[in-house]
């Protein structure tokens, strides 16, 4: 499920409210237990003084897992994300894509039911991004995890999600449109762009989003 909208429409605030980093101004957030929700930010925010393995194990130990077991579990997740042998490296000695994978392993190791993603791939260059995205889709499909993705990138929203919500221009932003993406799963995020439903939906999304942005320009 994706959330798109102009800058300042409160997409990030919404995610922060869901994970409990921010109190909503009004209303309540109903969500799963904290341990079942993971979040992935645009920056990796790995602890720089901990190795990749220690970073991944961090959440597990917070939730009561014995350290030794947590480290073994972390190593298994690193391997699943193509990072076998990088467990002893510090974040500074990893590439942007590798750091992103470590951050992913950190979240996935918690076995969440829901992962919130706030522009998680924006900082990666195109090739690395395509690869990371592909792995994310595969893992998320396999583990049957719901993802709430905030993105500026309409193609990303379309190729990754089943549902897309469009937020209006803030302040007082609200959901204005809801789209269903009829591309079947399991998906390959690169090739889903060639699905016949992709282009028309993209056009619609683009038009609706442009209208929201123009709305702002016309407002006094």
């Amino acid at each position: 499920m994706s959330l798109v909208g102009p800058s300042g429409s409160g997409k990030s605030s919404l995610l922060r409210a869901v994970i409990g980093l921010q109190q909503p101004l009004s209303g309540t957030v109903e969500t799963l237990a904290r341990a079942q929700v993971g979040i992935l930010f645009q920056d990796d925010a790995l602890l720089p003084w901990k190795t990749a393995r220690d970073n991944v194990a961090l959440g597990l130990t917070f939730n009561g897992m014995e350290r030794k077991k947590a480290l073994a579990e972390a190593e298994a997740w690193l391997e699943r994300l193509d990072l076998a042998g990088f467990g002893d490296r510090f974040p500074r000695h990893l590439s942007g894509g590798q750091r992103k994978r470590v951050a992913l392993a950190q979240v996935l190791a918690m076995k969440p039911k829901l992962i919130l993603m706030d522009e998680p791939f924006a900082s990666l260059d195109a090739i690395v991004r395509a690869r990371v995205v592909k792995d994310v889709v595969a893992l998320v499909d396999r583990e049957r995890i719901t993802v709430l993705l905030v993105t500026h990138d309409l193609e990303e929203a379309l190729s990754l999600s089943d549902e897309i919500y469009l937020l209006s221009q803030g302040p007082r932003a609200h959901i204005t449109q809801h789209y269903l993406v009829p591309i079947p799963r399991p998906r390959d995020p690169v090739h889903s762009r060639t699905h016949p439903a992709f282009a028309p939906l993209y056009e619609r999304l683009w038009a609706d989003l442009s209208r929201e942005v123009d709305h702002r320009a016309e407002a006094p």
């Binding site: 993971g38 925010a45 003084w49 950190q106």
Partner: protein, 251 residues
């Protein structure tokens, strides 16, 4: 090949040797007054004498004890006050002006006061070392904690960490990093405190020996002591540098 940047140390060493040779030659040709500028060979002999008759050891011991004691106490108290001030606004309001004042003045002017309060023994030197180091570390930690990366804290919270996890995994490592990156300066301060304290009033220590050399117009001894202090501090710098490099290997 000898002009290659990698061999800079050879050229530096050679230049130093030339300087010593010229100095020695000038001294032997009676061009220098040995009262002010004794020959390098005389200085070397004075240094050897300090060690060969063994009477340097209690002095080295005194200075080291004072400097390292002040360093340890200064770091401990500086970190503690810095953390508390960063977390409790009320404490910060009280501490910050005092620390700013202490930071602004040359703290060695407190040496005579410490002698009156604590006597001419070890305590007054530890106190001077301590005050030099503590103020430095206080500001390092105090300003550092307020700049802790908010995103790291959020990461730990969203992974299910509690307040203690935040302190242990985010704040303490950050504090340790700042303290370590100031460790060399702190070591320098600690030895300054110890030596100045001994210089003012003491019965032992390298600073005391210096003051003794001064009052007896023993320039050779003075140079030997300066050299010795230099070597000692460089040695500790090297150890601190190693420690810093190992503990901050992630950065």
């Amino acid at each position: 090949m000898l002009l290659h940047p990698r061999y800079a140390w050879i050229r530096q060493l050679a230049a130093f040797a030339v300087l010593l040779a010229v100095w020695e030659a000038a001294g032997r040709a009676d061009m220098l007054n040995p009262l002010y500028l004794p020959n390098p060979s005389r200085i070397g002999a004075a240094l050897v004498e300090l060690f060969s008759d063994g009477h340097i050891w209690p002095h080295l011991d005194a200075t080291f004890t004072a400097a390292l004691g002040g360093l340890a106490l200064g770091i401990a108290v500086g970190v503690l006050l810095g953390v508390v001030a960063a977390l409790v606004r009320f404490i910060a309001e009280l501490l910050e002006p005092v620390m700013t004042l202490l930071n602004a003045i040359p703290r060695v002017i407190l040496a005579p006061l410490f002698v009156i309060w604590l006597g001419i023994g070890l305590a007054s030197k530890v106190a001077l070392s301590f005050i030099l180091v503590a103020v430095l570390i206080f500001f390092t930690v105090f300003t550092g904690i307020r700049q802790v990366d908010r995103r790291l804290a959020e990461r730990v919270i969203t992974l299910g960490g509690d307040r203690w996890s935040l302190v242990r995994h985010v704040y303490l490592p950050s504090v340790a990093a700042w303290v370590l990156s100031n460790l060399k300066i702190a070591v320098g301060f600690a030895f300054t405190g110890a030596c100045v304290g001994e210089f003012v009033a003491a019965s032992r220590g390298l600073g005391y020996l210096l003051s003794f050399a001064q009052s007896t117009y023993n320039a050779a001894l003075m140079f030997a002591l300066i050299l010795l202090i230099l070597v000692v501090v460089l040695l500790i710098f090297a150890i601190a540098g190693r420690l810093e490099k190992y503990l901050l290997r992630w950065s």
